[in-house]
């Protein structure tokens, strides 16, 4: 299935040829999870704080949906 992935913060520097306007088009086997996507992208789970699938917060085990927009953020801290 196909997904569009956007990376925020300083994550984008981890991938070559990443264009933030367009995001990254990813093709990944059916029936895979958020976690599998991270492995596919070579992203360390420790460096990830939040993931949204079509605007909804998604957990590690969430199944990916065909055509989903995935946005990935680093852990945040503030106040």
């Amino acid at each position: 299935m196909n997904l569009n992935v956007k990376l925020y913060g300083t994550l984008s520097s981890l991938l070559d040829d990443y264009n933030h306007q367009e995001g990254l088009d990813v093709t990944i086997p059916e029936d895979t999870s958020i976690q599998d996507l991270l492995v596919h992208l070579n992203l360390e789970p420790d460096g990830i704080g939040m993931i949204f699938m079509d605007g909804m917060p998604a957990k590690k085990k969430a199944r990916l949906k065909q055509g989903a927009r995935i946005t990935i953020f680093q852990p945040i801290f503030g106040g």
Binding site: Y8, G9, I48, G49, F73, F77, G78
Partner: protein
């Protein structure tokens, strides 16, 4: 360490010892203690009985990194309750290094008299006539003071908004480059300073000196461990320097928690135009600075220098909360206008959050269209003119709501929320509602436990567990604000045995026992003092509620409302 008391009525200055019960306290602990002890809770916040207390953090002026927070306390003209607002910059380190624990400013001056309070590097304080300085905006003020007294000073001051005693007036303080761009914004403390006729506190810098530490070796080794943890954490060592706190725009917006157009929506469709990522690109392409040290002893450098297309300085330390209040909250997608509004607020001496929300409430009432950046700039400029309408804006959102008969006013105890909508992050509902400070995000920032669903913590739309995380965060922050560690350096607590490591530094500084258990009791003690003051000022638990818009209007895109019940709210401080 000593306390300097300044009697504005008599023009008299006295030096005292810290009250024994509060030896070993600094920052918020000290300001709240003195305010509760010495200010009659029902007094007029702008009258002679209120006191303005300045206190560096307990660990400020030491070798610990990022410990340069400066607490300012008083009874707030905005909330009517106790207030502590803290600011970075350089003043905390300078004051602590001279050996001053607090400055207490009391009484009112003779009519039409105004002063600056100057403290030299030996710790001697004098009141000087402000003369022509009164009336100046902060950037110009700082320039004049430096011309007279020399570059080598930390300046903490008010602009015209404070002079006019407006409830959204901030106290500004100079950063590492001597610019008055750092703000103790919340609670209208600038108005209290204005009522005292105090235009500026000018503290001579003390190169080479540092605050007294009983066990220097022990302190140094713990400070090193703390600094290593800050540098090891990606957020504080990589993300903040690159993008600043503005990095929060995209994730908070993605979570549907970015209050937009006076909190009618939780997502701003143009968030990408004002995001940290975009801002960094813009600044870089124009030759500004994306990484900038704002405060003494900082190793994170979350600040920035925003420049215009010609490369000319516009403002410094443009932060997430301002990008929200002057951006999404007023429907404005123009980053340059946001930077200008940030500068104007710093220069006029206004809290960017209260002012942005005040504009949002006016726009919501139909006074001007959302997104009209030019109108927003005019409204802020109007505050400085002292016109009737300018004063209404300068008194903050509640006054604006009254003026336009608009009850969609996102304030708690008179103070506006910050850049996290409580309907999409329920834990923030608890903090906003119950903090003795009024709507305040730093008092108990629980965003990460709500949103970092990836690791699986709390459900941001459910009440479950929210009171507890907010309580714990509020108790913890009360002590963080007391020791004077910057919020962003809290990653230093991530060292192995992180809390114990910080307690070690407290022990090493004071020479007295202080355990992790004491950390918790100190948090409780401070919150109790603050609640006691508010109760005596007439606060009831009915004030620990959000405005009804948050309970009744579902927030798109998730269409949720606040679900924390009143009973649950009331258990927040059941200790």
């Amino acid at each position: 360490m000593k306390i300097i008391r300044v009697d504005m009525a008599a023009g008299k200055i006295t030096n005292q010892e810290v009250v024994p019960a509060f030896i070993g306290m600094g920052g918020r602990g000290l300001t709240s203690f003195y305010v509760n002890k010495e200010v009659p809770p029902k007094c007029d916040p702008l009258g002679p009985e209120n006191k303005l207390v300045f206190a560096p953090g307990f660990l400020s002026g030491s070798s610990l990194v990022n410990s340069s927070r400066f607490s300012i306390g008083a009874k707030s003209p905005l909330t009517g309750g106790i207030k502590e607002s803290n600011v970075g910059g350089t003043v905390a380190v300078d004051m602590a290094s001279i050996g001053i624990s607090a400055i207490i400013v009391e009484g009112l001056p003779e009519k039409n008299r105004s002063y600056i309070l100057k403290v030299d590097k030996e710790g001697n304080a004098v009141l000087l006539d402000a003369g022509g300085l009164w009336g100046k905006r902060t950037y110009d003020l700082v320039k004049s003071i430096k011309e007279t007294h020399g570059e080598n000073h930390s300046i903490t001051c008010i602009g015209p908004a404070g002079e006019m005693q407006l409830s959204a007036a901030s106290i500004q303080s100079t950063d590492m480059d001597g610019r008055p761009c750092r703000a103790a914004g919340r609670g209208g403390l600038g108005a209290v300073m204005g009522s005292k006729g105090l235009k500026a506190l000018v503290v001579e810098k003390t190169k080479g000196k540092s605050t007294q530490i009983q066990d220097l070796e022990a302190f140094k080794s713990s400070a090193k461990i703390f600094a290593q943890a800050v540098m090891k954490d990606e957020f504080s060592s990589e993300v903040l320097p690159a993008l600043g706190s503005a990095v929060l725009v995209e994730p908070i917006n993605a979570a549907g928690a970015f209050p937009t157009r006076n909190a009618r929506q939780g997502q701003f469709e143009d968030a990408d135009k004002i995001s940290g990522e975009t801002m960094a690109q813009v600044i870089k392409s124009r030759g500004g600075k994306t990484t900038h040290k704002g405060c003494s002893g900082c190793i994170i450098n979350c600040s920035n220098e925003f420049v215009d297309e010609k490369g000319t300085y516009v403002t410094s330390s443009l932060e997430y909360e301002t990008i929200w209040s002057m951006g999404g909250m007023i429907g404005n997608n123009d980053l340059d206008a946001i930077a200008t509004l940030d500068f104007l607020c710093d220069d006029i001496g206004l809290d960017t959050m209260s002012t942005g929300v005040a504009i949002a409430v006016a726009m919501d009432a139909g006074y001007k269209a959302f997104g009209d950046a030019k109108a927003a700039i005019e409204m802020v400029e109007e505050v400085a003119t002292g016109s009737d309408f300018g004063k209404i804006i300068g008194h903050g959102p509640a006054r604006v709501g009254k003026h336009f008969n608009n009850d969609r006013v996102p304030v708690i105890k008179g103070q506006s929320i910050a850049a996290y909508d409580p309907r999409a992050i329920q834990g923030m509902a608890v903090t906003y509602a119950t903090s003795p400070m009024g709507g305040d995000h730093t008092a108990g920032w629980v965003v990460e436990s709500n949103l970092e669903a990836f690791g699986g913590t709390l459900d941001p739309f459910s009440a479950k567990g929210q009171v507890e995380v907010s309580r714990n965060a509020q108790l913890h922050m009360a002590v963080v604000d007391t020791v004077g560690i910057c919020d962003f350096a809290q990653t230093g607590f991530g060292a192995p045995d992180g809390l114990e490591n910080v307690c070690k530094m407290i022990r090493a500084k004071s020479g007295k026992p202080f355990s992790a258990e004491d950390w918790n009791t100190t948090g409780k003690k401070i919150i109790r003092i603050e609640l006691e003051f508010n109760k005596n000022a007439g606060f009831t638990k009915e004030l620990d509620r959000l405005p009804k818009m948050f309970y009744e209007e579902p927030l798109p895109p998730h269409n949720k409302v606040v679900v924390i019940s009143d009973e649950e709210m009331d258990t927040t401080f059941n200790f």
